[in-house]
């Protein structure tokens, strides 16, 4: 019942009329219903007024929860007492003070009637009364922390009474009720033992409100403690000096991770402390504490309130900028004081106040990981990017921070390099360092070389001049930066460290970059040599996504070189699924989406790449379909042709997705003008099949995605020229295969070259290839420059007979062997029998 009341709001409670409760309270007529409505309404008004008076929020909440039951009980009591008299209800209304008092009164009344019943030895009604009383008291105890005095008194007396009357004879139903009551009593006595004891000790001075130590009170206590700690901080704020640095640090450290600490406040405190810090060690320590604190802030909702005053529209971004500033400060402090070294492998000091002693290299180690901080900053940046719509200007602005990030990563790399060298730790041994390098590669691998050179140079120019890196030396100018060489330099360290994952990522990134630079053969060789295809299924999804991205890029680069078959091979597997987006990390899997909507959307974007890293799907599809078209059109013509049975092409696997698209197109009753990439390519395929390459070329040129194929107009034109030649050749092949063998005796090479706008040399090459591959039955007459088709006759009957005979002979040979095997020597037959049966 109590649960029910809690869930019911005040409004629900007022028109409360569930039949179950009605039965319980013996209310049955409609009159009482209407009465209860009017009554409870007026009562709730009153209680509202009460709550206003008190002004205490907690009390108000409690009252709202308790209002509904209270009103009803009140009313019911009126019902139970006599035939609902107006007077009595009026009286009640006057008597109302607060819910608390009413509940206590009710409890008291119940208690007195209970003791009455008990004294009369009417156990049955006593039991009913007892149950009722118990519920009321439970509620009052839970809500107000009160156990009415009379309740305790009654319990105490009832207990003694029960003990006295235990042996008395009574009716069966009575004794049963008595037994039940006794058991319930035992439970109650156990629950309120403390109160009973105190009551027995001193019945007079017993107070209802005396603390029964509840959980609620405990938390309150804690709050108070925290409050006092906060006030202590406040006190500290006024007199922060360099001497209080470690005091502040310690207090912050202690409260960190606790639930009720106000991180924003503590961050502010650290900030102020930082302003007055004197020594470099102090500053470093404070910054090392402050930065993670801010990361915590970013990830909590508290961030919003904290940075409400920030200039930026996105509160998280304001924090991010602060962290970036802090990191820079940390770097500058570390740069100017190179005896202090922050290193992840350093031991945790026992006492922060004492500066660590210099080790054998003369360096003072402070535990902490600069790369980890930078990485976290990078992660947060990615997270913030994900919250923006990629088509807004804000997204572009945030994208500019990439340069800052790269600079910070670079500085972190330089610093870590310096720190490791200063302690003569091999670079490859530090996982953190390798991770940082991997992170750096992640930032550059997907960009075109010019962009990499520019950002790289910009990043270096921000790094103080005296800092340099051995892994990636400072470039003299932007033009000297070679993207692949840079990746190689970074990978060199990664290759030496043991983690397979980082190595795989480094290789894949290089493949990606090579493909972007149109080094198809290098990229392909690297892909094949690394044997990543066979292992990639075991790696995490992010690496798998990177693998897919690299593979797609290899395919695109092959296409740019005019290597249609290779491009198709690379793209086939990925593009033939319907999950292209998901495989490239540019959309969520449907299954995952479902799971997330169920589990409340945790980590929704972690597997997704930010928009600026996306590979244009339109382009991928366009390249895939175009490649498919160029390969498939001659093939389809060949299959339809006569000689297909003899051709090896028949064994080739069929490009099903493309076929499906073609079929779909064929099924359409009306095909309108092509608009999308897909429609354009399919239309082009259709016209190619009829040999109309000019229209097909027009259609292909209509596709806008080509503009993304290559950065410069010039190279794009080059690719398109290659494609044009391929297109013509495909058309020519399809034309020859599907029409010429039936329609012509001979064809002039000159005519073909003219019609297809190819050079005669190209035509000859193609024809010779087709003849050699037995696709067309023709001869090339070199003197008259004609393609002469052979007339095809059915093979002579003797030949077919001979072939059939050969087959039969083979059959007979088998039979004979079997006969010999199963011959007349039984032992032999038994031994051989199984083998024969298996045939």
């Amino acid at each position: 019942m109590s649960k029910f009341f809690q869930t019911q709001g005040p409004a629900d409670g007022s028109d409360f009329s569930s039949s179950e409760e009605e039965d319980l309270y013996g209310v049955s007529d409609s009159l009482s219903d209407s009465l209860s409505d009017s009554l409870s309404e007026s009562l709730s008004e009153e209680s509202d007024a009460d709550s206003n008076d008190s002004g205490d929020e907690a009390a108000d909440d409690a009252e709202e929860g308790g209002k509904a039951p209270f009103t009803r009980n009140k009313f019911l009591k009126g019902q139970g007492g006599s035939d609902s008299e107006d007077d009595s209800s009026d009286d009640e209304r006057v008597a109302v003070k607060s819910a608390k008092d009413k509940a206590v009164d009710e409890a008291n009344q119940n208690a007195s009637s209970l003791s009455e019943h008990a004294s009369k030895l009417d156990w049955i009604s006593a039991l009913a009364m007892f149950d009722k009383l118990q519920k009321i008291v439970e509620r009052t105890n839970r809500q107000y922390g009160i156990v009415p005095k009379q309740f305790v008194e009654t319990i105490s007396s009832l207990e003694t009474r029960l003990k006295e009357k235990e042996k008395e004879k009574q009716s069966a139903s009575q004794s049963k009720a008595q037994n039940t009551l006794r058991q319930r009593m035992k439970k109650i006595v156990r629950e309120y033992e403390a109160r009973l004891a105190s009551f027995r000790e001193n019945a007079e001075s017993y107070e209802e409100g005396t603390p029964l130590v509840s959980k609620q009170q405990e938390t309150e206590k804690k709050k108070n403690v925290a409050m006092s700690a906060a006030t202590a901080f406040d006190a500290l704020n006024d007199e922060l000096t360099s001497h209080t640095v470690f005091l502040t640090l310690l207090s912050v450290m202690e409260s960190r991770g606790r639930k009720n600490t106000d991180r924003a406040e503590q961050a502010g405190l650290l900030e102020r402390q930082l302003a007055v810090a004197e020594t470099a060690y102090q500053k470093i320590c404070l910054l090392l504490m402050l930065i993670p604190m801010r990361f915590d802030l970013i990830s909590t909702s508290a961030a919003k309130a904290y940075t409400a005053l920030s200039r930026s529209s996105n509160p998280e971004f304001g924090l991010w900028q602060q962290i970036e500033r802090d990191l820079r400060e940390l770097f500058s402090v570390l740069d100017s004081n190179d005896t202090y070294i922050v290193l992840d492998t350093a031991a945790e000091p026992e006492d922060w106040e004492v500066e660590p002693k210099a080790n054998k290299f003369g360096k003072k180690l402070i535990p902490g990981s600069i790369p980890a901080l930078v990485e976290r900053l990078d992660d947060e940046h990615a997270r913030i990017m994900a919250t923006y719509d990629p088509h807004t200007t804000e997204y572009l602005e945030r994208l500019r921070d990439e340069t800052k990030l790269e600079e910070l990563i670079l500085r972190a790399q330089c610093y870590q390099e310096f720190a490791l060298e200063a302690n003569s730790i091999p670079l490859a041994q530090s996982v953190v360092f390798s991770r940082l390098l991997s992170r750096r590669i992640d930032h550059i691998y997907y960009k075109p070389e010019t962009a990499i050179a520019a950002t790289e140079f910009a990043a270096w120019s921000q790094v103080p001049a005296h800092i340099d890196s051995k892994v990636t030396p400072r470039p003299e100018n932007a033009s000297k930066i070679n993207a692949i060489a840079l990746i190689d330099e970074l990978s060199a360290v990664i290759y030496e460290q043991p983690s397979m994952l980082l190595r795989a990522r480094a290789i894949l990134s290089k493949i990606y970059q090579l493909s972007l630079a149109d080094e198809f053969y290098q990229a392909r060789d690297l892909m094949l040599r690394s044997h990543l295809q066979s292992q990639i299924h075991n790696s995490d999804s992010l690496t798998q996504v990177l693998f897919n991205r690299s593979l797609v890029q290899v395919g695109l680069s092959a296409f740019r070189q005019g290597l249609i078959n290779e491009a198709l091979n690379c793209l086939q597997e990925i593009c033939s699924t319907s999950r292209l987006k998901e495989l490239l990390g540019q959309a969520q899997a449907r299954q995952q989406q479902d799971q997330q909507s169920q589990s409340g959307g945790q980590q929704p974007t972690s597997l997704l790449l930010p928009y600026h890293m996306h590979i244009n799907l339109e382009l991928v599809e366009c390249v895939y379909l175009t490649s498919s078209m160029l390969v498939e059109v001659p093939y389809l013509a060949n299959v339809a042709g006569l000689r297909s049975a003899q051709s090896d092409l028949r064994k080739r696997s069929v490009n099903r997705p493309f076929r499906r698209l073609l079929d779909q197109h064929d099924r359409q009753i009306f095909s309108g003008p092509s608009e999308t990439t897909r429609e354009c390519v399919i239309q082009a395929t259709k016209s190619l099949q009829l040999g109309d390459w000019r229209y097909a070329l027009d259609l292909l040129n209509k596709i806008k995605a080509w503009s993304l194929l290559s950065p410069t107009q010039e190279s794009r034109q080059k690719v398109m020229n290659l494609i044009e030649i391929q297109l013509k050749q495909s058309a020519l092949r399809a034309y020859l295969l599907s029409f010429c063998t039936k329609a012509y005796d001979s064809l002039s090479l000159e005519y073909i070259a003219q019609d297809y706008e190819l050079t005669e040399k190209q035509v000859r090459q193609l024809l010779v290839k087709m003849i050699a591959q037995d696709e067309i039955a023709a001869l090339l007459d070199e003197t008259s420059r004609f393609l002469v088709f052979k007339t095809e006759a059915d093979p002579p009957r003797a030949q077919t007979l001979a072939l059939a005979l050969l087959e039969k002979t083979q059959q007979m040979l088998d039979r004979n062997e079997r006969l010999a095997g199963d011959g007349h020597v039984p032992e032999l037959a038994q031994k051989r029998a199984p083998r024969i049966r298996s045939q």
């Binding site: 007979l801 039984p826 038994q830």
Partner: protein
């Protein structure tokens, strides 16, 4: 081993008859001087022949055993005796491809004839071949002693055991007899009339039609043979299974007997299995023999027809 000497008149008569009815099959009776009056007992001189009416042909095969045929032969011989011609029945002729004589009916004919006259033989005139080559394609055969001895056992069923015992296989079902004839202007003229115009070109198969017919026939034979062998394989499997069962039964009985011996009881019969199990009967091997021989003959024919061309094809192939 006797040889056959064909008189020109007989050749002329036979040739005329078979060419007349070609491509249908026909047959007739060959007559020679009586054995006792021969100059050389080894040479059977065929002097006369007469055709048998087409009613004697049943299913493309001559039936010499029917009453009508025998009556007709008797009648013809008696008429010939009236004109003092030779009346000794030396054998019979048939116009068909040599491979066709490997047929149960033909063999029965030959057997019947050889029973009456051990020196009798069958003369096979392959008209189609004669037409292609422009020669007289005549060969003579007689059942081999091995076959006769197997046939004499009385049952028409031939089992493997019998084949082994009499050393009979498909190569020695029949013996071929030497046939000779004397040149006769009439014969030469006749042959010249029938001679085909030989096709030019060394890579051309002489007569594709005939080759194809032989190949076709070979295929049919092979099918039959395969079928027959399938049957035999089935029998073999059955037999193995049965034998296994018997062996099991015997082992069981032996164990039982050993047990009984311990209890000093009389042993049970170990021969009882003969009534319990019945071994399946071996299929007739004659069919298989005939088919094998027929196939061999067909293969020889194909080889003869296409062999020359095939050998010229080989250098041509390497020249390419």
């Amino acid at each position: 081993m006797s040889s056959i000497q064909l008189d020109s008149a007989a050749v002329y008569a036979i040739n005329g008859h078979v060419n007349e009815v070609f491509p249908a099959t026909c047959g007739g009776i060959l007559l020679s001087t009586a054995a006792g009056v021969r100059e050389d007992p080894e040479i059977i001189e065929v002097t006369e022949s007469f055709a048998l009416p087409s009613s004697c042909i049943e299913n493309g095969v001559l039936n010499l055993k029917s009453k009508e045929t025998n009556a007709y032969i008797k009648f013809m011989v008696s008429r010939l005796a009236e004109v003092k011609a030779d009346t000794n029945i030396a054998g019979w002729y048939i116009s068909c491809s040599v491979s066709n004589i490997f047929d149960a009916q033909v063999f029965e004919n030959m057997y019947a004839m050889q029973q009456a006259n051990p020196e009798s033989f069958v003369l096979v005139h392959d008209v189609a071949l004669s037409k292609v080559t422009g020669t007289l394609g005549v060969r003579a055969f007689r059942l081999s002693d091995e076959f006769i001895s197997v046939r004499k056992t009385g049952t028409s069923r031939i089992t493997t055991e019998m084949l082994i015992k009499h050393n009979l296989n498909y190569t020695n079902l029949v013996v071929e007899l030497f046939v000779c004839t004397f040149e006769n202007d009439l014969v030469r003229q006749f042959m010249a009339k029938n001679a085909p115009v030989l096709a030019a070109g060394c890579l051309k198969v002489p007569d594709e039609e005939l080759l194809e017919r032989h190949a076709d026939a070979a295929m049919v034979t092979m099918d039959d043979l395969n079928y027959d062998q399938g049957n035999y394989n089935y029998y073999q499997r059955q037999l193995t299974r049965e034998k296994q069962k018997i062996a099991q039964w015997k082992a069981k009985r032996a164990a039982e007997n050993a047990e009984r011996a311990e209890k000093k009881q009389d042993p049970l019969s170990t021969e009882e299995y003969k009534t319990l199990f019945k071994l399946s009967e071996e299929p007739n091997r004659l069919e298989s023999l005939l088919l094998s021989a027929q196939l061999e003959e067909q293969c020889i024919q194909v080889e003869e027809l296409a062999g020359g061309t095939a050998s010229t094809l080989i250098p041509a192939k390497f020249a390419i």
